[in-house]
Amino acid sequence: MRIIQHPILGEYEKGEKVHFTLDGEDMTGFEGEAIAAALKAAGIMIHRYTVKEHKPRGLFCAIGRCTDCVMIVNGQSNVRTCITPLEEGMIVQTQYGVEAQEVWEANNK
């Protein structure tokens, strides 16, 4: 959930409202905020599924170090969503292993 008013910080400076998609679904967020923040605000917890055990992973360090929150962004895999600023029209996909879901499913049949 977004924090509307903070006792110390007041209101947060945010960019323009932008639209993006997550696995084809329309989503909104604010330009310049981390992709992960927009997802978190929308209650999205799962960013990817791991290669070996196919376990869900999400935000973990939020400073671009642990690489757990990577997703496919505009077709590029392994993008650290916690430090990548959101832009209008971004196509964000849950990452399966190192691929998009359909590729992963095709390869793991």
Partner: protein
């Protein structure tokens, strides 16, 4: 290839301070930082800092960041953001990725100020979404403006765990508990106390056994531990949480120093692998220095001074400071650092848990260490926990030797004395008449000062306390007074609410409570049972 006299890696407190110092002396300096905004972790720190005036005490971390930035900007320090230093090569060559290009730079000197990274604690299910680092929680709520979760378990009772717990409360999240495997609270008692009085339970000698959930965290199993920190079977308890926040210390990020072939050693006192440094901060590779957390985990206040101190040496070597100028500055910075490195939580006392008395000889509170709050009889031992027959007066529940003295500075009439040594406990000068201005309440970074008036009249007393949540109580509100562990003790009426810009968002709220509860009422919540 562009060459600079000094390249600083990292625009956090240490790096910016170093660059400012070098620029002031006339050096050609550039700062690279991989983040979109400068300030390192300072902008996540929304609490007031400790120390004394020269250490920016009672100023909130992010404001210190703003001040540093302004200073850097006014001096014309070149801070290059979104610039990832990829590697340090031979002859002090640095490669930097910015946008979609890699630039090569060379320097006469490099100061590595890359800071620290969070330690992690593995437990069953720690890879489930919803288990996050405490730093991640801070980033989400204080930078991005998004709640990291709604019901949070905090793992770790060090300063980070305590401060972030308080910040989570400020962001509107619920803290289901704070656990620590150690039998004692690891961070400052005052940080624990301000969280405890909101009603957050502390589970010391407890560890997390498991994060429950498949797609995301739905619960946490905690258990008591034995002397060897092993969970005791049968003591498991499941807490309903959606977020588990891990705050178990920091590790210096020494990868670049290692990449630059500096000699590295694992020094537990410094928090992990660090470059071996001379007393001026130089690594085994001539001209490469480390400052701030990368040189050893400390507070941001120390990092800023360290940055300046290291930079003065770089200036000396480059001929921008004379031997005398250097010595004067160096001694001054070392003295300031020395002040911060005193007391029970100093780097040299890291990991120590055998303090039984304060420097003054008062017995250390066992309740504070075991539960996060003190009992009245324990407080009675301390000099600033006072009673007065007439009029308003400060009651200070500061019971550990930590380097901090804004309370002394804030009192216009001189009621509060800390003395030369800033780790000493504050004492009250009974001769001086408190005017009830509330500045001490707002200035105490530990939120440990209350203004009490036992003679309010008609069997009532007032207690003024610091308040940093929303909504702020209004005069005339009727609610419930909470004690030091957040338990309702009596009805409370709000009689005064003080806000001012010098108090910087800390509101001093005065509540009227029955005289019998004057020593137990320390916090307030709206509503509740009255009577």
């Amino acid at each position: 290839m562009r060459r600079h006299e000094l390249i600083v890696i990292g625009a956090g407190p240490a790096g910016l301070s170093a660059a400012i110092e070098a620029k002031k002396a006339g050096m050609d300096v550039v700062v690279f930082d991989e983040n979109e905004r400068p300030g390192g972790q300072l902008f996540k720190q929304i609490h007031k800092f400790f120390g004394s005036r020269e250490h920016h005490a009672k100023v909130r971390g992010f404001r210190i960041g703003q001040e540093l930035l302004q200073e850097a900007e006014s001096l014309g320090v070149d801070v290059k953001l979104n610039s990832v230093v990829m590697g340090i090569y031979e002859n002090k060559e640095v490669t930097v990725k910015k946008d979609n290009a890699v630039n090569h730079y060379k320097a006469d000197a490099i100061i590595i100020a890359t800071g620290a990274a969070e330690n992690m604690l593995p437990f069953k299910g720690w890879d489930i979404p919803g288990v996050i680092g405490a730093g991640a929680a801070q980033t989400m709520m204080n930078i991005q403006g998004v709640q990291p979760g709604s019901k949070v378990l905090m793992v770790g009772s060090g300063n980070v765990g305590l401060v972030v717990s308080f910040q989570l409360l400020q962001a509107g999240c619920e803290i289901v508990g704070i656990i620590d495997a150690a039998p004692r609270v690891g961070g400052y008692g005052v940080h624990a106390a301000k969280v405890a009085r909101t009603g957050v339970p502390f589970y010391l000698s407890h560890t997390i056994v498991e994060a429950k959930g498949t797609d995301c965290v739905t619960g946490a199993v905690i258990a008591q531990v034995d002397d060897r920190f092993q969970p005791i079977p049968g003591t498991e308890k499941e807490l309903s949480v959606d977020t588990i926040c891990v705050a178990v210390g920091l590790t210096p990020m020494a990868q670049l120093a290692s990449n630059a072939t500096c000699d590295i050693a694992l020094l537990p006192q410094k928090g992990g692998h660090v470059a071996l440094l001379s007393k001026c901060g130089e690594t085994s590779v001539e001209g490469i220095y480390c400052a701030g957390d990368v040189a050893g985990i400390e507070e941001a206040s120390s990092a800023m001074i360290q940055g300046r101190s290291v930079a003065t040496y770089v200036c000396l070597k480059a001929g921008y400071l004379s031997e005398e100028e250097f010595q004067e500055k160096y001694d001054r910075y070392q003295a300031a650092l020395g002040q911060l490195r005193q007391g029970m939580f100093s780097p040299e006392n890291k990991g120590r848990n055998d303090f039984t008395v304060t420097d003054e000889g008062y017995p250390v509170s066992s309740n504070l260490l075991a539960h996060g709050y003190m009992t009245e009889d324990e407080l009675d031992n301390f000099p600033a926990y006072t009673y007065k027959k007439a009029g308003v007066h400060p009651v200070i529940e500061c019971t550990q030797n930590i380097p901090c003295n804004p309370c002394q500075d804030s009192c216009k009439v001189g009621c509060i004395k800390v003395g030369e040594n800033i780790t000493m406990l504050p004492a009250i000068d009974e001769e001086k008449k408190c005017v009830g201005c509330g500045m001490c309440v707002a200035s105490c970074s530990g939120q440990a000062i209350f203004l009490v008036d036992e003679t309010y009249g008609e069997g009532y007393a007032t207690v003024a306390f610091p308040y940093e949540f929303i909504p702020v109580p209004q005069v005339g509100d009727q609610g419930t007074a909470l004690d030091r562990q957040g338990k309702p003790v009596c009805a409370a009426d709000i009689v005064e609410v003080k806000k001012s810009s010098v108090m910087d968002k800390t509101v001093v709220v005065t509540m009227k409570v029955p005289l019998a509860f004057v020593n137990s009422a320390r916090f307030y919540k709206a509503g509740g049972q009255r009577g």
